[in-house]
């Protein structure tokens, strides 16, 4: 059922090159039948050269010309067919990949947060590849395989029913042999993959922490443990590799037996002693022998194709699941423009999982240009609040409005554009530092970028990189420290900042002195801009106009630093436990 749906969806993509597809099928049909016809012609040619002085040159040259024509047509058809198949395959893969990527950009954050990034990447990249290779190429193989089998049967039965029957009855043995070996080796392969998994996990852990291993001089212990797993893997691999490699010789052996049987029966009949079995010529026997050689091949291929097809269908299904995922609804097309910066959250409730209410009856009102600090223990809902403001998630009930307009009525893009955001988990793209700072914005000169970098205190770091602004960031910022990455992220919003700011632990990995230095520029930046700052450092919080103290999804206290200290409540306790020197 599910497979059917998947294939139907895939057809939607193939349909775009429908004419090519039909042409490919026709060409496949012509190619296979003509290929099968060649042995018949060769048989006829052989019959024309019966013996000394008995060669019929007239027939022979006619047959040879026929063969020439047939192979010419076959080759051309085959080349065109291959080219068309490539074209269809790659186009379908490209289209489906584009659709998947485009969809990924529109998926709700809840989907992306709940899937591992590697999972989504492998759907878009390797699943698409496997679909192309397995499904489309698999179908071609399957199709030509079936035509070959039917064609061979037709030609064989036309020449001689009894020999044909012998072939039909004997060949399935090779399939059974292959199946038998595959079943027996299955458990060996699964054992191998378990041990291999164990080894990969160990390698992963050790290599990722090689510096620690080095620092403690534990290289030998690690190598010893590695060798122990490695030896187990060697033993298990040997079994799996050897036993599975028996398949080919075994099926070839069965084919040889079939070949011998055809030779035996064929030769007897050709002697003229066949009686009821009819009579065949030497040429026909030659054709038969080459069919006997070819006949089992498509069977073996098809059994391989089925496994591949199954895998490919599974891959396609995973890919389609991504494409079919519900996107962020963006019905609202009103643009949020000229933001003054008043933010009101009224009676907001929200939860990530339906059965676990998280934020309930939360109300806050922020005046334009106000600086709001949000504090609380880990998991109290600080980041959730930001998710709601940015419309990464939408409220379950209640409303969030900017300048008196419900943000759900505004397009997501315009809401997001009105905020400048820096997150604790910095993210740098695998492009140049400049492109990382510009984030697609155009018409900005290097001088402006450098000025922004200077106020974010990242210029010293960028300057020291091998190619300065043109340095390509590798491995998501591999050689940069967390703090350095944060400074570069801050540079992004120092450049052309919008009217509201969100800083989620934006300076958590930066030392206090640099933070203090940026602080001045931050203060200038926040001047006249509504800002939401999540922080645990006192210096960042104390100057806020309003501090929201959150605890398990609720705002428990609200006010300025002095007011809250005087209140002697939750904030005071938090403050004394976290911010002071005790």
């Amino acid at each position: 059922m599910k497979n059917k749906g998947t294939l139907k969806r895939l057809w939607e993509y193939i349909k775009r090159s429908r004419m090519w597809f039909v042409l490919s099928v026709v060409l496949a049909l012509i190619t296979t039948i003509l290929t099968l016809y060649v042995p018949v012609l060769v048989g006829r040619a052989v019959d024309a050269i019966a013996g000394e002085g008995m060669v019929n040159f007239g027939t022979l040259s006619f047959v040879l010309m026929e063969i020439g024509a047939v192979i010419g047509i076959t080759a051309v058809c085959q080349w065109i067919m291959n080219t068309i198949n490539n074209r269809i395959t790659y186009s379908v893969v490209r289209d489906i990949r584009n659709d998947a990527f485009r969809k990924m950009q529109r998926l709700p954050l809840s989907y992306i947060d709940s899937h591992q990034s590697g999972d989504i990447t492998s759907r878009i990249i390797s699943d698409a590849d496997q679909m192309g290779e397995g499904l489309l190429m698999g179908f071609t193989q399957l199709f030509t395989g079936i035509v070959t089998i039917l064609g061979t049967l037709y030609f064989m039965f036309r020449i001689n029913v009894f020999i044909a029957l012998a072939v039909v009855i004997l060949t399935p043995i090779s399939l059974f042999v292959a199946r038998f070996i595959a079943n027996r080796t299955y458990s060996m392969f699964s054992e191998q993959s378990v041990i291999r998994g164990e080894q990969t996990a160990f390698t992963d852990e050790m290599i990722s922490n090689m510096k620690v291993v080095n620092a403690f001089g534990q290289e030998k212990t690690a190598a010893k443990e590695f060798d122990e797993i490695n030896e187990r893997l060697r033993k298990s691999s040997l079994k799996a590799v050897f036993f599975s490699s028996i398949t080919n010789p075994a099926t070839r052996f069965v084919n040889n037996i079939v070949y011998a049987a055809v030779a035996l029966i064929g030769a007897f009949i050709a002697c003229g002693s066949g009686g009821v079995f009819g009579l065949i010529s030497v040429g026909q026997l030659a054709s038969f022998l080459s069919y006997a050689n070819q006949y089992t091949k498509p069977f073996n291929e098809i059994s391989g194709v089925f496994a591949e097809l199954q895998n490919a269908v599974a891959c396609t299904a995973r890919l389609l699941e991504l494409i079919d995922a519900e996107p962020e609804d963006d019905k609202a097309d009103t643009e949020l423009m000229d933001v003054k910066g008043s933010v009101v959250m009224s009676d907001v409730s929200f939860s990530y999982q339906e059965d676990k209410p998280f934020i309930e009856a939360l109300s806050v009102s922020v005046k334009p240009g106000e600086n709001v600090a949000i504090v609380g223990h880990t998991g109290c809902g600080k980041t959730t609040l930001i998710n709601l403001l940015m419309r990464f998630y939408d409220v379950n009930s209640g409303s969030v409005s900017i300048d008196g307009r419900d943000i759900r009525d505004m397009s997501r893009k315009s809401v997001r554009r009105s905020f400048g955001m820096v997150l604790q988990e910095t993210w740098l793209k695998t492009v140049t530092v400049r492109d990382n700072i510009l984030m697609g914005r155009t018409g900005i000169s290097d001088d402006e970028v450098i000025a922004a970098a200077k106020s974010a205190r990242s210029w010293g770091i960028i300057r020291r990189l091998p190619q300065g602004l043109d340095t390509v960031i590798s491995n998501s910022g591999g050689n940069l420290s967390q703090g350095e990455k944060q400074l570069i992220s801050i540079t992004r919003i120092m450049l052309d900042p919008p009217s509201m700011l969100i800083l989620d632990e934006a300076t958590s990995s930066i030392d206090t002195r640099t933070e203090l230095a940026i602080g001045k520029d931050f203060n200038r930046l926040m001047q006249g801009r509504t800002s939401f700052v999540v922080a645990h450092r006192l210096s960042t919080i104390r100057n806020a106009d309003t501090i929201l103290v959150m605890d398990s999804g609720h705002i428990v206290e609200q006010g300025s630093h002095e007011e809250l200290i005087k209140k002697n409540g939750f904030y005071k306790r938090l403050y004394t436990s976290q911010f002071t020197t005790g």
Binding site: M104, Q105, I125, I207, P249, A263, A267, V282, S489, R513
Partner: protein
């Protein structure tokens, strides 16, 4: 690349026997057309049923010998290939453990992990395939030609003409497409990176509403990829039709020629069929050979990547000194500078100071000021670019590596734990008594952790079932248990609250083996009580002294201190 072959040296016997048995099998296969020719020319022509039956029995017999030979060949090939990859993997792992930090930085963990897993697997199947088939296919091709000569010299000349043309086409197409396939792989890597970037950075991309631009970029790269795939596909699609045409033209020529010679009584009908069969065998083998060369060249590429790693040697030479001097400072820096590979500016410049035994040295400074670089010079994780670092009066470069590491306990910035128990993580590869481990854990302020969970508590990979603070304290215990002469804490209390941090400082001060302690921190509170504080700024030491001295005359230290202990605040509390 060639160097990797030495890991096959234990399997010389298998490497000879495997191909040998494969060739035996192929030889038997080459007799089949001759037997068939005999059936036609003698059996059928003379109507000799007994002869036909005997010949068919020979066919079965040839099949059985072929089966035995090829299974034997598969066994030797599998044994050699699997054994080879196991030895290679082990050698590569050991080699990786011998690399210094500089190489580890340059290569990066993800690369090394791929080399260890999928690259080696590819090489293994490459070796297996080579042993089984590499000799077989050319052998069958040339064998068929030689057999053709035994059948009929004149007709066999057609083989001599056809084989080079076929080889030219097959290898020509392959040589042409191989670099194109490499290019396709690179393009695929590009769109993979792009996709991963877009997923991990989804919040930032959406915050900057850069989705459309990103999609556009992806579509563009995807188009480039597709066009490259189509281009290479068009050429490799030629392979089958062209070889097919060549072989069949040869067949036509063969039959034509054969017919003339049969007419003259120089050849028989059965022999023409035999020649035709040999020609078909050649086609099958050439196609196999082409496929095999693709897999082998892939394996060679992987092998080359592995040998690149093997050729990357540690940039450090091990010294020989086993003992330091007693009358020298524990640690001394003399004008030490450090420079990371590929970085334009020095990470650390001209640092000089000395630490007496049992002293506590604080290192404080901004992000990227060179704190970690400084302490990494002590255990010689990196070499100085100029100047020197001495421990007990001996240059760290002159020490035997194990002797040097034995003196030092280090707690790195990232609290890395391994899969295993609390005991195995704290003991980390060496034997300690439970009492030693427990006292180290207590000193590291993690007593409540073992009280609650016990020493045998199973830690998941990366320590994911412990909190950041718990992980940090266990890594501290791991450094303490070896009772090092020098203890280095690299910002390793960042996840601890201030009270625990203070208790930890106290416990370290009271350690019975009184090590020389280096504390790297961003918190002034953690280094205030040090005998000496080194203030780093942009790779240079801008102040060295006690807290009071620095407060007096180091501007940067004052800034750091007051950013954390605001002056007006001291009145409030």
């Amino acid at each position: 690349m060639r160097k990797l072959l030495k890991y096959l040296s234990d399997y010389k016997k298998e490497c000879v026997l495997g191909p040998l048995f494969k060739l035996l099998e192929a030889s038997f296969e080459l007799f089949v057309p001759l037997v068939v020719a005999a059936i036609i020319d003698k059996g059928i022509a003379e109507g000799d049923h007994g002869y036909i039956a005997r010949m068919c029995l020979i066919l079965v017999f040839l099949g059985i010998i072929g089966l035995v030979c090829s299974i034997t060949a598969q066994y030797f090939a599998a044994k050699a290939a699997v054994g080879f990859s196991a030895r290679l993997r082990s050698a590569l792992f050991k080699h990786i453990t011998s690399l210094s930090y500089t190489e580890l930085d340059t290569l990066g963990a993800p690369t090394l992990i791929t080399r260890m897993s999928s690259d080696i697997n590819q090489v293994q199947s490459g070796v297996n395939l080579t042993l089984r088939l590499f000799l077989r296919s050319p052998f069958v091709v040339f064998g068929a030609m030689i057999m053709a000569f035994t059948v009929d010299f004149d007709c066999a000349l057609i083989f001599v003409a056809a084989i080079p043309v076929l080889a030219l086409v097959v290898f020509g197409i392959m040589l042409f497409t191989m670099p194109m396939y490499k290019g396709v792989q690179k393009l695929l890597d590009r769109i993979t990176t792009k996709t991963r970037d877009n997923i991990t950075g989804v919040r930032v991309i959406r915050a900057f509403t850069a989705e459309d631009r990103e999609t556009e970029g992806f579509t563009e790269e995807n188009d480039i990829l597709t066009n490259a795939q189509k281009a290479v596909g068009r050429i490799s699609a030629l392979l089958n039709p062209v070889t097919y045409v060549i072989i069949n033209l040869a067949v036509i020529w063969l039959i034509q020629r054969g017919a003339i010679r049969v007419e003259l009584g120089l050849l028989t009908q059965g022999k023409v069929v035999a020649l035709y069969n040999y020609m078909s065998q050649i086609l099958v083998e050439l196609i196999k050979l082409a496929n095999m060369i693709i897999s082998i060249s892939r394996a060679i590429a992987c092998g080359r990547r592995i040998s690149d790693i093997m050729d990357t040697n540690s940039s450090m030479e091990n010294g020989t000194v086993m003992e330091g001097k007693n009358d020298s400072p524990a640690v001394e820096f003399r004008g030490a500078s450090a420079c990371y590979k590929g970085c334009a500016a020095a990470a650390l410049e001209d640092i000089s100071f000395s630490a007496q035994r049992g002293e506590k040295i604080g290192i404080i400074g901004g992000t990227g000021s060179g704190k970690t670089t400084l302490i990494n010079l002590i255990p010689r994780f990196y070499d100085t670019a100029s100047g020197e670092v001495l421990i007990d009066g001996i240059n760290v470069r002159d020490y035997d590596r194990e002797t040097l590491l034995d003196k030092i306990g280090i707690v790195p910035q990232s609290a890395a734990l391994f899969k295993g128990t609390i005991r195995s993580n704290v003991g980390f590869g060496s034997e300690y008594t439970d009492a030693d481990i427990i006292s180290a854990i207590e000193a590291a302020q993690a007593k409540e952790l073992i009280e609650e969970k016990g020493l045998d508590y199973e830690i998941e990979q990366g320590g994911s079932n412990l909190s950041g603070g718990q992980r940090q304290r266990l890594t501290i215990a791991r450094a303490l248990v070896k009772k090092p002469e020098i203890l280095i804490l690299d910002d390793s209390a960042s996840a601890l609250d201030l009270a625990t941090d203070a208790a930890l400082s106290k416990a370290i001060r009271e350690l019975p083996f009184s090590p020389t302690v280096f504390v790297v921190s961003q918190r002034a509170a953690s280094v205030m009580d040090a005998d000496k504080i080194i203030v780093l700024d942009d790779g240079a030491a801008v102040g060295v002294g006690t807290h009071d001295e620095l407060l007096e005359d180091c501007e940067i230290y004052r800034e750091i201190y007051y950013s954390q202990f605001p002056e007006e605040d001291s009145n409030e509390e």
